[in-house]
């Protein structure tokens, strides 16, 4: 089945959150089999900056739900959404 890459958008709880530290925390929270392959930031509005992460998960593990749940548990995370998914 191969792997699937998902672009996940993580919104911090406030404009004051350190995104580098947040990215490290998100990396540590990943469920087994998932991997962060790239990251970027996206200026939103009024000082808010979103973290965009390329997360690779195997196509046969049942989607991005486990990663979304793990990310949502991390302190300083306001919300997690999947922007797009594509096969590798």
């Amino acid at each position: 089945m191969g792997d699937v890459a998902a672009t996940m958008k993580v919104m911090p709880q406030s404009p004051d959150v350190d995104l580098d530290a947040l990215k490290d925390q998100l990396g540590e929270s990943l469920p087994e089999g998932a991997e962060i392959r790239g990251s970027d930031t996206d200026d939103v509005a009024f000082g808010l900056v979103a973290l965009l992460l390329s997360v690779v998960v195997p196509d046969d593990t049942g989607g991005t739900e486990a990663v979304e749940e793990a990310f949502a548990e991390v302190d300083d995370v306001e919300s997690v959404s999947v922007q797009e998914v594509g096969r590798l």
Binding site: M1, G38, V44, A45, F46, L48, T61, G63, V82, E84
Partner: protein, 421 residues
Amino acid sequence: MSDKPHQNLAIIGHVDHGKSTLVGRLLFETGSVPEHVIEQYREEAEEKGKGGFEFAYVMDNLAEERERGVTIDIAHQEFDTDKYYFTIVDCPGHRDFVKNMITGASQADNAVLVVAADDGVAPQTREHVFLARTLGINELIIGINKMDVVDYSENEYTDVVDEVKQLLKQVRFDTEDASFVPISAFEGDNIAETSDEMSWYSGPTLLEALNDLPEVEPPTDAPLRLPIQDVYTISGIGTVPVGRIETGTMHPGDMVSFQPSDVGGEVKTIEMHHEEVDRAGPGDNVGFNVRGVGKDDIRRGDVCGSADDAPKVAETFQAQVVVMQHPSVITEGYTPVFHAHTAQVACTVESLDQKLDPASGEVAEENPDFIKSGDAAVVTIRPQKPLSIEPSSEIPELGSFAIRDMGQTIAAGKVLSVDER
């Protein structure tokens, strides 16, 4: 390349019917294979004393390339025709990704359905066609692939075309709008150039059919619909809802309404990429503030719309669904979680109205006792908490949903009508 109008193109179809080969072939024929892949091949070919650039090599290396070179844009492969610049949205096979395709940002405008001539309509063909319809794909080009395997037989082609037309009729895709092209992605027949092997076919090649697609119009003229992703309190500004505009436009001074929270006010400032803007439209990610609306007045899952054409809130709604996977059967009273735009709400299946015959598309049974995996049905749904949702015939962007239960996406559907509160 970017001067041309853009289209997101989904490649859909049953596993092993040749989706990846077709993607490789499209990139190859349009000269869109990355330069360094060609360069690398040239060097290897010179070493071994071989000449020419071979398609098989492209296929091998694109796979490897994507695995290695994964970046934030991983999902995207691009090519262009005379008229358009295409981005390929390559859909994952696993059903649980369907939720992302419904709630995510990258929706395909049009699709190529790949059906193998030697296999015909297969389970995933059926599922993908229904999803394409649910996801708001406008035009379908059907590539009847692997024509080389059936010796380029016109009879085999016609049989598969008839089979696909039956399926399209079931999900109410207008078959008049669908174009069928007999192809071999592996051999390159009818992709860029008319094949010598199929003199009986006089229609366009696949690339011509893609070039003939109508231009995609962003839903600018539709009423404003902006599902709220998050709500912040920013010092010096106040309450700032954040989300992506699905339809319509928003300007400072507009009177807006948040549903189902049922509050509203005047838009003061809109920001996009940290810049203040005086207009935002479909696809724009914005943060804004509204006079008189506090942080606790609105929440994720609300939809912001214009005050004079406010988002609908459903008491109940009727929908067409396809059951993708369910361990047993679905009966009246079943209450899974519905994912629609940014909302997640438990909803009860109030009545099973009609079961549809997958072969003919006709109503197979009125008021069935149950539906199960593989069934398509018309059902009436009652949200357990207020939910803003729209008929897909009016605002398709807000008219589809995924149904999840037990950690799986069990069904997907589109709203036929809304009985407002």
